[in-house]
Symmetry: C2
Subunit: 771 residues, 2 copies
Amino acid sequence: MGHTMENIDAYWRAANYLSVGQIYLLDNPLLTEPLRPEHIKPRLLGHWGTTPGLNFCFAHLNRIIRERDQDMIYIAGPGHGGPAAVAHSWLEGSYTERYPDVTQDAQGMRRLFRQFSFPGGIPSHVAPETPGSIHEGGELGYALAHAYGAAFDNPGLVVSCVIGDGEAETGPLAASWHSNKLLDRERDGVVLPILALNGYKIANPTILARIPEADLFKLLEGYGYRPHLVGPDHAEMAGTLDEVFDEIAAYRAGDDSRLPMIILRTPKGWTGPREVDGLPVEGTWRAHQVPLAKVRDNPAHLAMLEEWMRSYLPEELFDEGGGPIPAILGTVPEGARRMSANPHANGGELLAPLRLPDFRTHAVEVKSPAVQTSEPTRVLGTLLRDVIAANPRTFRLMGPDETASNRLSAVFETTDRAWNAERLPTDEHLAPGGRVMEVLSEHLCQGWLEGYLLTGRHGLFNCYEAFIHIIDSMFNQHAKWLESSQKIPWRRPVASLTYLLSSHVWRQDHNGFSHQDPGFLDVVVNKKASVVRVYLPPDANTLLSVADHCLRSRDYVNVIVAGKQPVLDLFTMDEAIAHCTRGLGILPWASTDDGVEPDVVLASAGDVPTLETLAAAAILREELPELKVRVINVVDLMRLQPSSEHPHGMPDNEFDTLFTTDRPIIFNFHGYPTLIHQLTYRRHGHANLHVRGYKEEGTTTTPFDMAMLNDIDRFHLVMDVIDRVPGLASKAAHLRQRMSDARLRARAHTRVHGEDAPEISGWTWPSTYSS
Amino acid sequence: MGHTMENIDAYWRAANYLSVGQIYLLDNPLLTEPLRPEHIKPRLLGHWGTTPGLNFCFAHLNRIIRERDQDMIYIAGPGHGGPAAVAHSWLEGSYTERYPDVTQDAQGMRRLFRQFSFPGGIPSHVAPETPGSIHEGGELGYALAHAYGAAFDNPGLVVSCVIGDGEAETGPLAASWHSNKLLDRERDGVVLPILALNGYKIANPTILARIPEADLFKLLEGYGYRPHLVGPDHAEMAGTLDEVFDEIAAYRAGDDSRLPMIILRTPKGWTGPREVDGLPVEGTWRAHQVPLAKVRDNPAHLAMLEEWMRSYLPEELFDEGGGPIPAILGTVPEGARRMSANPHANGGELLAPLRLPDFRTHAVEVKSPAVQTSEPTRVLGTLLRDVIAANPRTFRLMGPDETASNRLSAVFETTDRAWNAERLPTDEHLAPGGRVMEVLSEHLCQGWLEGYLLTGRHGLFNCYEAFIHIIDSMFNQHAKWLESSQKIPWRRPVASLTYLLSSHVWRQDHNGFSHQDPGFLDVVVNKKASVVRVYLPPDANTLLSVADHCLRSRDYVNVIVAGKQPVLDLFTMDEAIAHCTRGLGILPWASTDDGVEPDVVLASAGDVPTLETLAAAAILREELPELKVRVINVVDLMRLQPSSEHPHGMPDNEFDTLFTTDRPIIFNFHGYPTLIHQLTYRRHGHANLHVRGYKEEGTTTTPFDMAMLNDIDRFHLVMDVIDRVPGLASKAAHLRQRMSDARLRARAHTRVHGEDAPEISGWTWPSTYSS
């Protein structure tokens, strides 16, 4: 028993056999009879090339886990090698624990093979369905960032992370190596990168496999690691792993040397067919997916498949019932030490709720709405400071060097930025173990946070609004992970991924056009209603209420858009809670409809559009006192959708009561106007809905000029009302002209003076608006 | 005269002076009188920190250009240092050539200062408005990829590329260093990376500035470069540049050594205020934006600003009229050798139309619609092959290792993948100078192509549909560049950036859920109608026609979505041209309305949805022969928008004639259904429009099961028709039940057999659909 090289090899052969079986076989799993065409799947779908390398790593890491009682999880960067992770889980018994019908015997093996990449079965990639995984690997680039995210604040853990040499060419992966500069020896675990150089991606050699070995070593040493090269050999791998884990132990004990990593050179499709139809396969890109095609119809290929599978000597690996032999089972760790059953890889099992301070104690005092101003994110910073203080090991704040710029600096009263590289006397708030994670890479912020959340912790990602698009695709993949996980009973809910998007489109005073893009919301709403939530709190107290709600939530992606610049305080804390709970509502003090049917509805979502809407309402109140104006603010954007489409969706009758079905609605929106149409096109009053928003106009200019460039300004809104309320055009022609003149005057003022006119730039309540 | 160190220093001081002036001054540009508050801008917007370093590089590179008659352009990764590039252009005279009112004298200098970051003026960043630039640098990460894109196929050119140490932390930049593995000594120019280590990003030190210098050297050597370290010293920079350009000359002459790069260590905000209000500024992150705040109101800051500006000794730099002194002008290259006037940085000036083979000769012969099948991208591959052959130095095909997977392999009959690293005997189609650019990085593909196009060449980016989201933000920035450029008369049109999105959402047979995302179109349509075009050709001949059109176009982003799997051939070449020219149209052979008002409209966009729509129409023809069905296919998605919104938009009367205003429209869409609503919500018949599309359901399954999971299948479409055509529900209740049964049967078939039933899986015309 135990970890003789023979037993490790047996485990590896068994995993390889099970992998090939998953790709090819419908039946005859143990090859108890000669392979016949009807045993073969009609559609051969899967990726063999990376699989034997993944299995090799599993087999050898298991020895380390057992010998050192090492807490370890495994991230398969080449997640398309799904059969490997599934085979591993089956051999460890955890697959049967999660899916009792897939028993650890011949019948279960048949099911295991059949279900893979099969309609009604399981995906071809490592996926939420795969026990032991927090990483899909469908879209490449994020393995190492996920690994570091998992390692943070898990001091005993080693996160082994296989990185394919294809994935290593991606930008996010290339940046992830430097994550070690933010790793804390005391508080964090260790990441063991295993660069799997099998030489090819889909149809091409890889860069790292073809640069001189001296360059490769320099590169990885330059990234701050101690590389160990291993070839396709059991003894070499075992010896190296012993060295590597000794080095890790020394690091933990305080040794000053670098952390190790492994370069594993193996052939692609190792142990698979050498040559097929006269062309080399093993060791080439041809091994990437299915080395033998059309096996049902091609007797030669069928024979090769059987020869290939029998080369693993299945009769030596599985007993008569089809279960793994004891020698194999003896190499497998026990219980939660199994990488396929480690609770870190099903983070919801470990999740403890955040200790949340009472957000109401951070409230801004508001005696009267729309009189004083606050900087919402600065206020939120004080709440986040206290969240960090109360949860010193389970909450992190991510941001691409924008935490201070986004005015969350209060967090630095209680913590620092994580940093273990050189520090200089002029530096501020840098320390190992800091809770704020800042590098200039949205990819890393996102990847770390995903890894951190999926292993059962909490966090928030603050980002400039425009540049959150950098991680659109990562959001997509995380949302899909959550969508799938929600259908898997054993996947326990994890903390939501919450974005705070600040420094938004309307206040890019310093940076202009390149920094103006509110379109992330459009990406977000394409994902399933069961996972996405979007909030646009218009002031400090609503931001506090929304943030508290988001930090308590599970299995969602929450997007909060909130400015850092001073905006009017609109709600007392109690009002804010009520408003956010409703998600949208009438602002009675800004309205003039007095509970009767209004002539026009002014709606808004977002801080700057809300201010302009309130200013427009004030102008209308003063100039057209008989006009009945209803002012509505929307905090929870998903309320606009029909209740059939989103759990937050408002029933039609309520929507109709609020917005009317026949009065003009002027909706002033933070983002691209079409999103509001997309959410509301089924509403009865939609034909009366006129949306203002960002229309891709902007540059480095004043805040009010920016509003005017996109026609979301107070003056234009008044003009919109006059144009749309029946009968008003002639009656209010003079006012309309004055509004138009006011725009021209405002434009001229900024062009001459370089700033907004005082009555506008203060963003205060416009009791007078014209000179 | 000439390049004494004194003259270079004078140039540098002048550029620094002009930079500070741009950030601060409204008036008194030459400090001919003491600085007063009214000379100061009311809003101080800009980024000083990186600017002196950028100016330092400009000053020294100009000597190289003159002494070696070197063709060179300059990419400022820290593009937020806009004042530097503008100052440079003004000193070189090109600013006045482009903007004649900004003269090279005191009056012009006043204008230059005033307009910067000022309403109605110019952006704070390097931008399309800046002569000599192809790179905004607003969103960081792409400088080096742009530089390589510019260098490809420009054998005489050196692209100097300043990379900020903040930007160096991004993923795309970290990956870009490896671009040198695809650079061809014969055909391509040289990129000279200058890593500007000023130590800080916005509020933090940078990783590369704080790792041990030995690690930094290893890292850059590992990337394949020969690093040269330079400190903040004129002589050191000059000496190093001489070495570096000698090395470049040796490389060009065939020397086997690596290409050089420079590490430039300077203080951040170098030459700016040392200390402000008791806190260190020069050499710290506090120098990032505006070192002296509130200068109008703070007399001490005002005095410091004046002292700072006078420290450059402006009276020694500018003559009495305000122009640069001859010693400075003597350091400036001439004509097109000026980096601010080099035509490579205004690529439209160099753009020659592609030599385009007649795409009609690549047509698939179609005798009867919807009988035979073709693989559209495989057919397109033959056209691209001939495009490459006819344009051997001005066209490149980018793809993240997916060119073969996307079935464009015909291109390898005429060219190879660019590759200068090690090659093995089993490799295929690798060679220096290959026209196909493949790394597993969408960021690099996009960045290279942008650089290549903006310097006046042509190309196409083929990508898996789901993963094009990886470059959402890069698309955004490129679209914004085009939007701005279209308003700048001297920016000549460049070739459009054309995406071919294949391996799309409906045919992820191997990869499943993670590879299913058609949402890039939603990102694209948020950008201005003047730059975005979206095409969904349903068959091979329409794809050829669309591709030809896109390759001829200028200043657009074209998105083509087209499958690689066999689809029915629907159009002869002539019909395809006519159909694509109209952008959408009735398929008379599939319709049964015979030119009269139909009972129902079946519309589609995308290849798989179109096939299902045609199958549904065939079922209806057979089962409900009296029902008048009109079948419409949409190729050019922008035709759906009102003509007021997009130049391709269809006038309402034409739209109404086609789609009717009162009959049910069942629209089967390739992407998320809301996009069709977003485009059509203003149309008269919108209330009757029912859209099917991807609703985030999927896994590894069969193509028809995938269609059924999202209700875009033929059977469901027939049910939709029955449900929506008035009076049909009862009349066709039996058919509806049969359709529902057919779905269940199809589902059951795939779950048992693992493949679609033969009558469906062939994707052929369903003359019979039920057993």
